[in-house]
C-alpha cells in the first residue's frame, strides 16, 4: 500500500526539481536551485524507503496509459535494488551539487544543469521499473538523450563536441540493437509484454541474446564498444560523470540481467561469451588506465574495468547455472550485483572528489598536480578511501565483491569439464592481474595527485573544497567502509532469507583485531623508541634544494608496467621523405611521427567509418551527379523490382 503512495510522491518531487529551475532559468539567486536540489534529496530518501519496503514486502505494480500506449511499470526485487543504487548515489551527488553547481559562471547553465540532472535521474528510475518493451525503450531513449545533453554541457570547450557526437553515435548504436531485438520479439510473440519472451524458439533466443548483448555492452562500455567513455567523462561536469559512471552504465547491466532472467533456458556459450568479454574489458581497462594521465579519463577507464568485473560475475552465474549448480550460481549473481553497488559507490566518490580537485587546480592533467594532501586534506582522505575500495583492499567494500568472485572461481572444480575449468582458471588469473594492476594504478593516482611536492602554480594555490562538496562524497565513503566491514553480517542476513551460503570471512572481527594490534603496537613503540623527530629536506642527490621537477612523474610510475605490456601499447612510425630527383638522392623535405596506436579506433571503428563513407559517396553520385532522365529510370526500376518482390512474397 505504501508503495503506491511513495512512488508518485518521488516522481512529483523529481518533476518539481526539473521544472523549477527551468521556470526561473534566468534567476541568478541560488534559492530555486537549492529548493530543487532539496527536492531531489527528498525524492531519493523516499525512493530508498520505497526500495527497502519492496525488499521486505511485495512488488508494486502500476499501469500508465499515455496516447493509448500501455506503460507497464513494475517494481520487483531486482528493480528495487537498482532504484536503491540510483537514489543512494543521486542523493550524494545532489548534496555535492549545492556548491559544485555554483562554480559555473553562467546562471542559465547552473539552472539547466540541475534541471537536466534530475530529469536524467528520473529517466533512469523509469527504465529500471519498465515492464514492457515500449516503456523500456522509451525511457531508455530519454536517459540517452538527457545524458547526451549533460555531456554537451560545456559545449563551448574544445573537445566537448567530439565527445558529444561520439557518445551520441554510440548510444544510438546501442538503441538500434535494442530496437531490432524488440521488433523481433514483438513479431514472434505478438505482444509487447516481457513475459512472452520465454516462449521463443532456441535459435531466435540465441539471436536475441547476441543483439541484446551488443546493445547493452555498448551502453555499459564493454571493450570493444568502450570508446565513448574515455571521451565523454573528461568532457562532462564531475557530478554528471559520477552519475553516468556510477549509475547509467549500471542500467545496461540491469537490462542484461533482466533479459537473461526472462529467457527460459541458457546455452553454455552465452555465459562464456559474457565471461570472456568481462575479462578482456577488466584487463584492458586497467592497463589503459595506467597509461592515462587525465584524471577523469583514468577514472573512465577504471569504469570499463569494473564493468568487466561485474560481467565476470554475471558470466560465472550463467556458466554455473548452465551446469545446474544453483547455489554457486546465485552467489556469483550476488557478487556481480554487489560489485555493481560497490562500484556505484566508490566510483561516484572518486569522480566527485576528482571534481573538487579539478575545480581547485583548473587542470585534469595529473602531471600538473601534486602535494594536494596538504591543501585539501579532507578531499584527499575521501579520495584515498575510494582508491582503497576500488583497489579491492580489505576491509573495504570492493574487496568483498572481488573475494566472492575469487571464491566462485575456486569452486570451478565442481564442474567436471576440463576445457571449462581451463577457461575459468585463465580468466581467474587475468582477474587477479586486473585487481593487482588496479591497486598499482591507484597508488599512481593518489600518489601523483595528492602526495609529494606541487608540480604547478595552480596546485600550489589549491584550496579545500566547500562543505557540501565534502559531505556528499563523505556519505559515499562511509557507505564504502560500512558495506565492507559489515559484509559478513549483511550477507548472512541475505543468505538466511534466500537460503544461500556465502562463506565470507568476518571482516568485523578482523578490523577489531587490527585495531587491538594497532593500540598494542603504538604503546610498545612509544615505550621502546626514541620520541624525537624532526623535519628535514629530502635528499636531492647532492643538489642543495630539491624541486618538484625531481620527483617521480605519473609517466615514470607506469613505465615498467607499460613496458611489460608493450604489445598492447604498440606505436606507429610514419616516416615520409621527398626527394628532388627520381633516384632519391637529393633530399627535399620529410617528416617523421611516432604515435601510439589507438587499436580499437584505428582497426575497428575507422574501417567501418571509411566503408560507410565510400558507400555514401557512391549513393551521393547516384542522387546528385546524373541527369534527370536516368534518375526517373532509377525510380521506375525500383518500383518495378518492389512490385515483383511483393508479388512473389504474396504468392
Amino acid at each position: 500500500m505504501a508503495n503506491s503512495f511513495l512512488f508518485p510522491c518521488a516522481v512529483v518531487l523529481l518533476s518539481l526539481s526539473i521544472i523549477l529551475p527551468l521556470i526561473f532559468v534566468k534567476i541568478k539567486k541560488p534559492i530555486f536551485r537549492k529548493i530543487s536540489l532539496l527536492s531531489i534529496i527528498l525524492a531519493c530518501v523516499v525512493l530508498i524507503t520505497l526500495s527497502a519496503g519492496v525488499f521486505i514486502n511485495e512488488t508494486a505494480n502500476f499501469n500508465i496509459f499515455i496516447l493509448g500506449m500501455n506503460f507497464s511499470l513494475l517494481i520487483d526485487n531486482l528493480a528495487a535494488f537498482f532504484i536503491f543504487i540510483i537514489s543512494l548515489v543521486g542523493l550524494c551527488v545532489a548534496i555535492y551539487s549545492f556548491s559544485y553547481t555554483e562554480h559555473f559562471d553562467n546562471c542559465i547553465k547552473r539552472n539547466m544543469l540541475i534541471s537536466i540532472m534530475s530529469f536524467f535521474i528520473l529517466s533512469m528510475i523509469f527504465v529500471v521499473i519498465s515492464h514492457n518493451l515500449v516503456s523500456f525503450l522509451f525511457f531508455w531513449e530519454l536517459m540517452s538523450i538527457s545524458s547526451f545533453l549533460l555531456i554537451m554541457f560545456d559545449y563551448e570547450k574544445e573537445g566537448t563536441k567530439k565527445a558529444g557526437i561520439f557518445y551520441f553515435a554510440m548510444t544510438q548504436l546501442s538503441t538500434l540493437f535494442l530496437i531490432i531485438s524488440f521488433v523481433i520479439i514483438y513479431n514472434h510473440t505478438g505482444t509487447l509484454d516481457f513475459s512472452k519472451i520465454s516462449e521463443l524458439s532456441p535459435i531466435l533466443t540465441s539471436l536475441l541474446f547476441i543483439l541484446l548483448t551488443i546493445g547493452f555492452c555498448t551502453k555499459a562500455g564493454i571493450i570493444p564498444f568502450h570508446k565513448w567513455l574515455p571521451y565523454a567523462h573528461p568532457a562532462s561536469p564531475s557530478s554528471i560523470s559520477a552519475l553516468m559512471s556510477g549509475l547509467m552504465i549500471k542500467i545496461a547491466i540491469y537490462g542484461l540481467i533482466r533479459f537473461i532472467f526472462l529467457f527460459s533456458f541458457q546455452e553454455l556459450w552465452w555465459g562464456i561469451l559474457i565471461l570472456v568479454l568481462g575479462t578482456i574489458s577488466a584487463l584492458l581497462g586497467v592497463i589503459y588506465a595506467l597509461k592515462e594521465h587525465n584524471l577523469k579519463r583514468l577514472l573512465a577507464y577504471h569504469s570499463i574495468e569494473n564493468i568487466g568485473i561485474i560481467f565476470i560475475g554475471i558470466g560465472l552465474y550463467m556458466i554455473f547455472s548452465y551446469y545446474n549448480l544453483p547455489n554457486i550460481a546465485l552467489v556469483a549473481l550476488f557478487a556481480g550485483l554487489f560489485h555493481t553497488l560497490n562500484h556505484a559507490l566508490f566510483k561516484s566518490l572518486l569522480f566527485l572528489t576528482s571534481g573538487s580537485v579539478v575545480n581547485s587546480t583548473h587542470t585534469k592533467n595529473i602531471e600538473e598536480m601534486g602535494g594536494l594532501v596538504k591543501k585539501m586534506p579532507y578531499t584527499a582522505i575521501l579520495f584515498l578511501i575510494g582508491a582503497i575500495s576500488i583497489s579491492a583492499l580489505p576491509p573495504f567494500n570492493g574487496f568483498v565483491s572481488e573475494l566472492m568472485i575469487f571464491q566462485i572461481f575456486f569452486k570451478s572444480n565442481a564442474i567436471s569439464s576440463p576445457i571449462i575449468n581451463l577457461i575459468l582458471l585463465i580468466s581467474m588469473s587475468l582477474f587477479a592481474l586486473t585487481s593487482a594492476l588496479a591497486a598499482a594504478c591507484f597508488v599512481k593516482a593518489f600518489g601523483i595527485v595528492f602526495l609529494a611536492a606541487p608540480r604547478s602554480k595552480e596546485a600550489k594555490e589549491a584550496k579545500e573544497a566547500d562543505l557540501s562538496m565534502l559531505i556528499g562524497p563523505a556519505i559515499l565513503a562511509i557507505l564504502c567502509i560500512i558495506l565492507g566491514i559489515f559484509s559478513y553480517q549483511i550477507f548472512s542476513f541475505i543468505g538466511n532469507k534466500a537460503g544461500i551460503i556465502f562463506d565470507l570471512p568476518n571482516l568485523l572481527w578482523i578490523s577489531l583485531a587490527g585495531i587491538v594490534i594497532l593500540i598494542i603496537t603504538v604503546l610498545i613503540v612509544k615505550i621502546i623508541s626514541n620520541k624525537n623527530s624532526r623535519v628535514g629536506e629530502t635528499w636531492g642527490c647532492g643538489i642543495n634544494k630539491q624541486n618538484s621537477r625531481m620527483e617521480y612523474t605519473a609517466s615514470g610510475f607506469s613505465e615498467p608496467i607499460v613496458t611489460i605490456f608493450s604489445t598492447i601499447f604498440q606505436t606507429k612510425k610514419v616516416n615520409k621523405k621527398e626527394y628532388y630527383d627520381s633516384d632519391k638522392v637529393i633530399f627535399k623535405e620529410g617528416h617523421a611521427k611516432i604515435s601510439l596506436i589507438k587499436f580499437f579506433e584505428e582497426y575497428l571503428y575507422l574501417p567501418e567509418l571509411k566503408l560507410i563513407n565510400k558507400i555514401s559517396e557512391k549513393l551521393y553520385k547516384i542522387q546528385n551527379e546524373i541527369e534527370l532522365d536516368p534518375y526517373i529510370l532509377y525510380i521506375f526500376l525500383t518500383i518495378l523490382i518492389l512490385l515483383i518482390i511483393i508479388g512473389v512474397v504474396i504468392k
Partner: protein, 310 residues
C-alpha cells in the same frame, strides 16, 4: 575461543621473536659463500634496536601517509601471522582462515608503503614504489594460481583446513610441482635475489630499499620488522604444505615443544636454502622477471590441470 587466543598469542610472539633471525641466517650463508665471516646471528636484532633508539626525520614534503604507513604495514603483517599456524592448529579460527584475505591483507601494507615511497618527493622513492607495484601486480596471477591449486587439491579455501589435511596426509605428489612457483613467490614477496637485491643501494638494482629510503628511526624499524615477518610467513607456508610433520594437533606442552623444535629446524634449513640460491644467482634484469613468473604460472596451472584430469 580460548585456544584461538592462545594460538594467536603464541604465533605472534613466536614469529616476532624469530623473524629477524632468518635475515641474519641468510646473510651468514651468503658471507660463507663469499669467503667472509659475516655478521653475528643477532646482528639484525641489534640493528632494529639501534633504529628504535634513533630519532625520526621526516621530509618537508611528506604528509600523514609517511607517518601512518609503517604502522599500517606492521599491523597487516601481524594480522597475517594469524593465518599461518606454525606450532599447532586451533579448532576455532574466528574468520582468520581465508587464503584470499591473507593475500589482500598483505597487499594493504604494500599499498601504503608504496604511497609513502611517493610521499617524500624523492626520485628514488617514486622509482621504488613504481617497481614494487609493477612486480607485485605481475606476480599476482601466479600467487592466485598457486592458491587455486591448493583449493583444487584440498577442496577448501581455508588455510587451517588445508594445513590440517597436509599434516594428516603427506602424499600429495602433484603438489611438489608447486614448490618452484612457491619459492619464486617467496623470493618476490620478500624482495630477494633474483628479483630484488636488498644489499645494494644502487638505483639500477634496488626496489624495496629505494621505496623506504626516506624512512628513518622507529618507522624504518617497523618496516624492516614487517618484511622479516612476511619472509617467515612465506617460509611457514612452504613448510606447512611440503614438510608438515611435527605439528602439534593435541595441544600439549611436550607437543608444542616438539612442534617448535621441528619448525625451527625446518625453517632454518629453508633460510639456508634461500641463502644458497642467492649466492648462486645474480639479480635478473627488471624486464626479464615476467619470464620467470610465466614459468611459475605454468607450473601452477599444470598442477591444477593434473588434479582435474587425473
Amino acid at each position: 575461543m580460548i585456544d584461538f587466543f592462545l594460538y594467536a598469542a603464541l604465533n605472534i610472539i613466536l614469529v616476532i621473536a624469530l623473524a629477524p633471525l632468518y635475515i641474519s641466517v641468510i646473510k651468514k650463508v651468503k658471507a660463507y659463500y663469499q669467503g667472509r665471516k659475516g655478521p653475528r646471528l643477532f646482528q639484525t636484532y641489534y640493528n632494529l634496536f639501534k633504529l628504535f633508539s634513533k630519532e625520526r626525520v621526516y621530509s618537508t614534503n611528506s604528509s600523514f601517509i609517511m607517518r601512518v604507513s609503517p604502522y599500517v604495514n606492521i599491523i597487516c603483517s601481524i594480522l597475517a601471522i594469524l593465518f599461518i599456524p606454525l606450532l599447532f592448529i586451533p579448532n576455532n579460527t574466528l574468520g582468520f582462515e581465508n587464503i584470499i584475505l591473507f593475500l589482500y591483507i598483505l597487499a594493504i601494507g604494500k599499498f601504503f608503503i608504496s604511497l609513502s615511497g611517493l610521499d617524500a618527493a624523492s626520485t628514488f622513492g617514486g622509482m621504488g614504489s613504481s617497481r614494487e607495484m609493477s612486480i607485485s601486480s605481475i606476480v599476482e596471477p601466479v600467487v592466485i594460481m598457486i592458491f587455486a591449486a591448493f583449493v583444487f587439491v584440498f577442496k577448501s579455501f581455508n588455510f587451517f583446513d588445508i594445513f590440517r589435511q597436509t599434516s594428516l596426509n603427506l602424499d600429495h605428489i602433484s603438489l611438489w610441482l608447486l614448490l618452484i612457483p612457491l619459492v619464486i613467490v617467496l623470493l618476490t614477496e620478500v624482495a630477494r635475489i633474483p628479483i630484488d637485491n636488498p644489499e645494494t643501494h644502487l638505483e639500477l638494482t634496488m626496489i624495496h630499499e629505494a621505496m623506504i629510503l626516506e624512512q628513518s628511526g622507529s618507522d624504518l624499524a617497523l618496516i624492516e620488522m614487517s618484511s622479516a615477518i612476511k619472509q617467515l610467513l612465506w617460509i611457514g607456508i612452504i613448510i606447512n604444505i611440503f614438510i608438515p610433520f611435527g605439528f602439534d594437533l593435541l595441544l600439549s606442552i611436550s607437543g608444542l615443544f616438539i612442534g617448535f623444535v621441528s619448525f625451527f629446524i625446518k625453517s632454518i634449513l629453508i633460510a639456508i636454502g634461500i641463502g644458497v640460491i642467492e649466492s648462486y644467482l645474480t639479480k635478473y634484469r627488471l624486464f626479464r622477471l615476467p619470464n620467470l613468473f610465466a614459468i611459475a604460472f605454468f607450473l601452477a596451472l599444470i598442477t591444477i590441470m593434473m588434479e582435474v584430469l587425473l
